[in-house]
């Protein structure tokens, strides 16, 4: 098997995640989908590091994880506070971003 298949898989997961972000209304699930996308990227990175035989890809993936963690922390906090204020976790209920 050619490790490129890992890349195909990553692409597939990424796409699914993206679709999820677009389709789901529950902020938490949307967040999960974002995580999914990030993971897909990580998989790609790792695979690349394997293809090229150096560890930089893994380092990047590592950083991605850290950033993802930070992002999740903040993001979830935001969700919680939004939920407190308007008793809903649906992204469609916050549509003030218009003229």
């Amino acid at each position: 098997m050619n490790p490129a298949n890992y890349l195909y898989l990553a692409a597939l997961l990424f796409t699914i995640g993206a679709a999820g972000v677009l389709i789901r209304r529950n902020a938490i699930v949307v967040f999960m989908c974002v995580e999914l996308m990030l993971n897909a990227c990580n998989l790609a990175f790792v695979t690349f590091s394997r293809l090229h035989g150096n560890l930089d890809g893994q380092v990047i993936a590592f950083f991605t994880m850290v950033v993802a963690a930070a992002e999740v922390v903040v993001g979830l906090a935001i969700i919680v506070s939004i939920y407190r204020s308007r008793h809903s976790a649906s992204v469609d209920d916050a549509n003030l971003m218009k003229l």
């Binding site: 098997m1 050619n2 490790p3 490129a4 298949n5 890992y6 890349l7 195909y8 898989l9 692409a11 597939l12 997961l13 990424f14 796409t15 699914i16 995640g17 993206a18 679709a19 999820g20 677009l22 389709i23 789901r24 938490i28 699930v29 999960m32 989908c33 995580e35 999914l36 993971n39 990580n42 998989l43 695979t47 590091s49 394997r50 293809l51 090229h52 035989g53 560890l55 930089d56 893994q58 380092v59 993936a61 590592f62 950083f63 994880m65 850290v66 950033v67 963690a69 930070a70 992002e71 922390v73 903040v74 979830l76 906090a77 969700i79 919680v80 506070s81 407190r84 976790a89 469609d92």
Partner: protein, 331 residues
């Protein structure tokens, strides 16, 4: 490293073992991803996502990224997903959003873009020449191990980024605190003040009824029964009421009562129509009330640890519940 060496090191096929593993786990991963997107309840989404992540961890390990593999399991599956679950619980397990689309054309556009994007990515990968690969073995060996190798890179080449991420993490932590912290503005009211307030308002001066009274259950989610056999909403905590997790046992309580009367009546050998009528009455009342309640919390019954609830009242009331939940979904 130099080209000829690279060519020497380069190989184009992985071990069959890995291939097999890949083909099996890839399916699982995709299934998990789809689950994340399509599952109705956020808890299920979270769980399937966790599954995908574990699979990915395995892939990392297989690809020689041992450190990342472990981190993936520990940080992601262990920490981040748990965080997710916490929030899900916090926000309400059962506040699942129906998959019904509200934005016009959103779903179609999403599908279109997603598929198009996927095709593009795959096409991109396809026409990249990736027939050979080097593998991480040599890189891992170079510093005597994957972890050492990573550490070497992180603390030399990427030290600056590393520091920045550190700062980022701190910022994130503080940010989370700031966002979730709520400042208490007024003095907390003492019990005395509360009771005085209650009396001033003049409603519900006495303490609320405890749950489970006359109900042969004393679980927190079983409301007390009023003399006419209907339930007293007040006896259940408002949160449960909010979530519609009130478990109504008024009907079988009444039925048991009726059965008891009948049995005792037969044993005494006298018939008491009035009481029967009475019981019928009560029954009628009970059902009507129960209907109302069930209708109200049908979704809850199906929504929370549903099978449990199903066992409790798996009778025609449950059928109603089903229909009730269907209506909920339809609404």
């Amino acid at each position: 490293m130099s080209a000829p060496l690279m060519l020497a090191a380069a190989s184009s096929q992985t071990s069959t073992g890995e291939a097999v593993q890949f083909w099996i786990l890839a399916v699982v991963a995709v299934a998990g991803a789809l689950g994340t997107v399509l599952m109705k309840k956020s808890v299920h989404s979270a769980l399937s996502l966790a599954g995908t992540m574990i699979v990915l961890a395995v892939f990392y390990l297989a690809e020689g990224a041992y450190f990342l593999g472990i981190v993936q399991i520990v940080v992601y599956t262990g920490a981040i997903m748990m965080l997710f679950l916490f929030v899900v619980m916090l926000v309400g397990i059962t506040a699942a959003d129906s998959l019904k689309e509200t934005l016009k054309g959103q779903r179609w556009l999403a599908a279109l873009c997603g598929i198009g994007f996927g095709i593009l990515l795959i096409a991109g990968i396809a026409n990249a020449s990736l027939d050979t690969f080097i593998g991480t073995g040599s890189a891992n060996k170079a510093d005597g191990g994957n972890v050492q190798g990573l550490a070497h890179l992180v603390f030399t080449k990427y030290v600056w980024a590393f520091e920045i991420t550190g700062a980022l993490l701190i910022t994130a932590a503080i940010g989370a605190m700031v966002l979730t912290h709520r400042e208490r503005t007024e003095e907390r009211r003492t019990q005395r003040e509360l009771s005085e307030a209650r009396i001033r308002e003049g409603k519900q001066v006495t303490p609320l009824p405890a749950p489970g009274t006359y109900a042969r259950h004393n679980a927190a989610d079983v409301p007390a029964l009023l003399p006419d056999g209907s339930i007293s909403e007040l006896s259940v905590s408002s949160t449960l009421r909010e979530r519609g997790q009130v478990r109504d046992v008024s009907r079988d309580a009444m039925q048991r009562l009726a059965a008891l009367d009948r049995a005792s009546g037969e044993w005494l050998g006298r018939r008491m129509p009035a009481l029967e009528r009475n019981g019928a009455n009560g029954n009628g009342n009970g059902t009507s009330n129960g209907n109302g309640v069930n209708g109200g919390n049908g979704n809850g019954v199906n929504g929370a640890n549903g099978n449990g609830a199903a066992q409790v009242n798996g009778n025609n009331g449950n059928g109603r519940n089903g229909s009730g939940s269907a209506e909920e979904g339809a609404q």
